[in-house]
Amino acid sequence: MDSRSSRLSELTSGGGLAALAARSGEPLPHLMAARRRSLEARDAAAARLAELECQEDVSVVVMGSWGRLELTSGSDHDFVVLVGGSPRIAVSPTPAQVGEVLDKPPSRSGAFDGVAYVDHLVTRIGRRADDNDNLTRRMLLVLESMAIAGGAAHEAARRAVIETYIDTRVKDYRPPRFLLNDLQRYWRTICVDFEGKQRDRRSKDKWALRAAKLRTSRKLLFASGLLPVLECHDLTAEEMRTWLGETFAAPPVDRIADAFLRHEAYDAGVRTLVAYDRFLGHLDDEAFRDELRSLSRGDEDRSAAWVEARRLGRQIEEGLLALLFDRDALARLVRQYGLF
């Protein structure tokens, strides 16, 4: 095995969250509980959906906190019915049928609670046809999705999207720029949309909850995509397919924990995931969520919930920055590919 091959093997060892918890002695109880809850909910939903007809190229895919295996008591059940081809009239199951089976509605976003076609995800990248919903579905399919029906079709769809980014123009030992640019575009889109929502009077009511998630879950999600893409620098184009296919099948916090472990940034890694664990614990607390939901902008410093969420968000950011800028191997990649 040459050094490059062993690098691929090292990259794909996986299981980061449990490994970091074991190494640090930190039980990360809220992350672990959320993972159990998510898998139990998946199994229950899968059993109910098994009673519906599911066409061979169709999958029912959960995204958001469920897709990340971070389900808490306040989570929405975000899903799409994903069809492995182009638009057609008869799709089974229908979103309405799935909605009846799931006991919680998805969030009020155009990206969820509908049908998505893999053809749209892989052909409409960039320009006008790649609207916000299409971008969101494509990115979340790659970064945080899990099938509750049609597992094989879901996996084929995810691989098809990754393959679109790793096309013939990708060079060995160079991070795939197409994917990197789309990933960064998605993160910046989330950030800009957050501000856009604040300007919409109807959406102002939950700004603090949105801001807290932007600083924690969404930032970690972006980093969980950025890190594997940067680490393609060590791989041939063929190895990138294997690596990205495998790593994006793992939950985002596993990818983050794996990166901290691989780059021997154990202390910052533990602090980052302990902070996120604590945030998830708070999110599971209805009183905490209600305090953030009802908080008016300008009253931030009167809310203990906000001050805590802000602090945890900063701790997570500092941990990620330490990983990206204080480990030589990654710092070089961030410098080379992070901005331009």
Binding site: D267, R271, V274, A304, R311, R314
Partner: protein, 210 residues
């Protein structure tokens, strides 16, 4: 990295000037240090005015002198604006109860130097964290060195309290006083400091130009 206002002794009590001086050092982090209870009243009055505090990370060092008891300390700390999210406390001012537990994760507990009877070791601090489970850890690396110049104690503190670490106090010590970090200590402390790059480092004494 940022400065403790304790570095600017000639400005003591003039909080606008102290904040400006700390900001000259760094806009990233600062610690507002008022170690006397009476001095802390002045800090509270200043903070009540809602001044701009242009730092990414800001902590307040709780008083360690002039306190009647832990209830007095709690009464003072509860008057801090809620926006102050990090309050450094000394373990020997906390008493044996859970008087300050309501301050939750806003508290960070600092390890002590050899002059104190309690709070130097990881075992000591474990008893504090058992009573204040939400609290974080402030690692004063010079305090740890003062007890064990081999840095084994410092390493144990970082090993056992890694997940709680929220701030580092950085200086050297001479005759029990914080002085600017010496070159010798900079080299000695470097391996452990490299494990703390994701938390603010607060200079507790001016650093020489070298």
């Amino acid at each position: 990295m940022g400065a403790s206002t304790g570095c600017f002794s000639s400005l003591r009590g003039d909080w606008p000037a102290l904040v400006a001086a700390a900001h000259e050092v760094s806009s990233y982090a600062a610690e507002l240090a008022a170690l006397q209870a009476r001095e802390f009243e002045g800090l509270l009055s200043y903070l009540d005015l809602g001044p701009a505090l242009p730092f990414n990370d800001l902590s307040v060092h709780a008083p360690t002198k002039g306190l009647r008891d832990p209830a007095h300390l709690r009464e003072l700390l509860e008057r801090l604006p809620l926006g102050i999210e990090t309050i450094v406390v000394h373990p020997d001012t906390l008493g044996d109860g859970d008087e300050l537990a309501a301050l939750g994760s806003r508290l960070i507990v600092e390890n002590m130097d050899g002059r104190k009877a309690f709070g130097q070791t990881a075992d000591d601090l474990a008893t504090v964290f058992a009573r204040l489970p939400e609290a974080g850890f402030c690692f004063d690396i010079a305090h740890a060195w003062s007890i064990d110049p081999s840095m084994a104690l410092a390493g144990e503190l970082i090993d056992r309290l890694a997940s709680r670490l929220r701030e580092v106090h950085l200086s050297s010590l001479a005759d029990g006083r914080h002085v600017g970090l010496t070159d010798e200590h900079a080299a000695l402390f470097a391996p452990l400091l490299s494990r703390c790059v994701d938390v603010p480092w607060i200079l507790e004494a001016p650093v020489s130009a070298s």
